[in-house]
């Protein structure tokens, strides 16, 4: 379902009647049933909905981690179904930064090595890699923890390392899947402020959450219900026009 946006500006991601069916033996589960939406540059979009509503599936499709079973998904104008795994890997590497609920840092590596990892896959030379990773850690105020392993950091610190890893390649799109779900309120607030700053820098931010007060900070809310995207309510439109609450 198209939104009332300026259609001349380029869409970062666009879904047209996207469906996703999981097959579990004989059982078919439709996680998405005809979702159409478009997210533009510099937007801050929250995706909300109860568990099982399909919001994680939507997130995975947006992140090129999964492919739709029907419909069209375009990322910066390219039809994702027509791209092979190598190209999708490059898009994930250069264009998208992920922040997960479980942090997903590699336990045997230091914070700095974790932040460097996307640059390793981008084949950036070691000196530049290090400099950029240090800069990213500075951005999340964790440069003094660079040599610590994830196990030696608090949950909030781990998530900030994950944010540093997401921003180190300077991606246009940040996808955050329940980034505050495992954090206490202070740490959660820190991480949200960081994500909002990244959005203020001009990056598109898509945030999945089930917490209403987190969602209301977004410009726009997409509510998932039973595999379908429901138009944002009027109150949220107000929020979108007025910026942050």
């Amino acid at each position: 379902m198209p939104t009332s946006h300026d259609v001349t500006s380029p869409a970062v991601v666009e879904l047209i009647d996207v469906g996703k069916v999981y097959r579990n033996g004989e059982l078919e589960v439709a996680a998405l049933r005809g979702v159409s939406l478009r997210i533009d540059e510099k937007e801050f979009v929250a995706i909300v909905g109860p568990s099982g509503s399909g919001k994680s599936t939507l997130m995975h499709i947006l992140g090129c981690l999964d492919v739709p079973t029907s419909g069209v998904f375009r990322i910066v104008g390219h039809d994702a179904q027509s791209l092979d795994e190598d190209v999708l890997a490059r898009i994930r590497n250069m264009f998208i930064g992920f922040v997960f609920q479980q942090f997903n840092l590699l336990a045997h590596m230091t914070a700095l090595q974790n932040v460097e990892l996307p640059l390793v896959y981008a084949a950036i030379d070691p000196d530049e890699r290090r400099a950029r990773a240090v800069a990213a850690l500075e951005r999340v105020s964790l440069v003094d923890r660079a040599e610590h392993r994830p196990g030696e950091l608090s949950g909030g610190q781990q998530q900030r390392v994950a944010v540093a890893r997401a921003l180190v390649t300077d991606p246009a799109l940040i996808l955050a899947d329940e980034p505050t779900g495992n954090l206490d309120s202070v740490a959660a607030a820190d991480v949200l402020v960081l994500l909002e700053e990244l959005n203020a820098d001009g990056r598109t931010l898509v945030l999945i959450t089930h917490e209403r007060d987190v969602a209301t900070r977004a410009h726009r809310i997409i509510e998932m219900r039973d595999g379908q995207a429901v138009d944002s309510d009027h109150a949220v439109e107000v929020v979108r026009r007025g910026g942050r609450v």
């Binding site: 999964d66 890997a89 994930r92 045997h108």
Partner: protein, 412 residues
Amino acid sequence: MTWRDTLWTALDAVRSHRLRSSLTMLGILIGITAVVLTVGIGQGASATVRDQINELGTNLLVVSPGSSTNSTGVRTGFATATTLTQADATALTSKVAAPDVEAVSPVSTASAELVNPTTGANWTTTLTGTTPSWQTTRSRGAVQGRFLTATDERNAAAVVVLGPDTVTQLFPGVDPLGSSVTYNGVKLQVVGVLANLSSAEQAASNDLAVVPLSTYSQRLVGGASRNSVSSIYVKSTSAGTLSAAYQETNALLLNSHHVANAGTADFSVATQQSILAASNQVDNTLTVMLAGIAVISLLVGGIGVMNIMLVSVTERIREIGVRKAIGAAPSVIRRQFLVEASVLGLAGGLLGVGLGVLGAVLVPEFSDQRVILSIPASIGAIVIAVGIGVVFGVYPASRAARLAPIDALRSE
């Protein structure tokens, strides 16, 4: 991702699972050690054979009584018949009939118990009756005293030349020259001691008692077959004339034994090399068997690598998912696991060669087996080890590469 980073990541993964990595390497290590030692033992054995050829001389023929096959095709016992005589040996010394023969020495042997009458020490050794030319045919003389002379032979003198080991047994710490030993009550004066043969396989040749053939047949052993000999050593004038000497010996003996058909000859002539070639073949069979065991253990080691890599893929499924989410292409993941498997192979190979070298040093300490390390074989073994890592890493690596990023991320 650069190769350097791939290697670094693989080393990191190997390091962070120390116990598992070392158990995996163990399989490869055992296989490679087996390969290195097998090749080393094989080469040691053939070097020993080479040394024996050099020690005995390449231009030696050995005539033995009895033939390989009789006229009805029944194999008769090699060297059991008593068809060779001293007369045959004498005939072969003819410069006319056998111009390429330099020296001929008939030999008769028997097991005999010698006694040192002074101390009462006794020792069973090989009593060898032969002529002075034995020195020439066997390229071996006395280091102490003298060897047998023509006079001894003519007079059937009661003299004996002892092997160095025999001296050790009968005259421990005493100079044997001038002393005597008795055999069956016959007193034999020790006139010389033979040179020590160095190579380990020649140890038996250091324990013997050499007496004149005439003394042997007339005074010591005798019996009905007193004129027959156990074998005749024939030395050609040079290595180049060996085959001519072979022809002459064969023709002369066929003629004097009145044998028309060479297939029914009652004697056989063998070159020293053909005898050694036979023993070489036994060594080769052994080497092939050991190599077979080595190959099997390498195969088992390779399956171990595959098994562990599969476990590793399953265990690190989430890590693979994270790596894919942040931009690792399938080919990069595949390469990472392949490099990891080859690092395991390489480490196992290096350790295996190290252990093989250690074994090569230790084996000769505890047995008389010679081991010669081969550098090309060791390098080859390391290459094989890496190859095993790669070959058996292909399947786990492609499984890791094929994982959908989302399936990998979702697993707990």
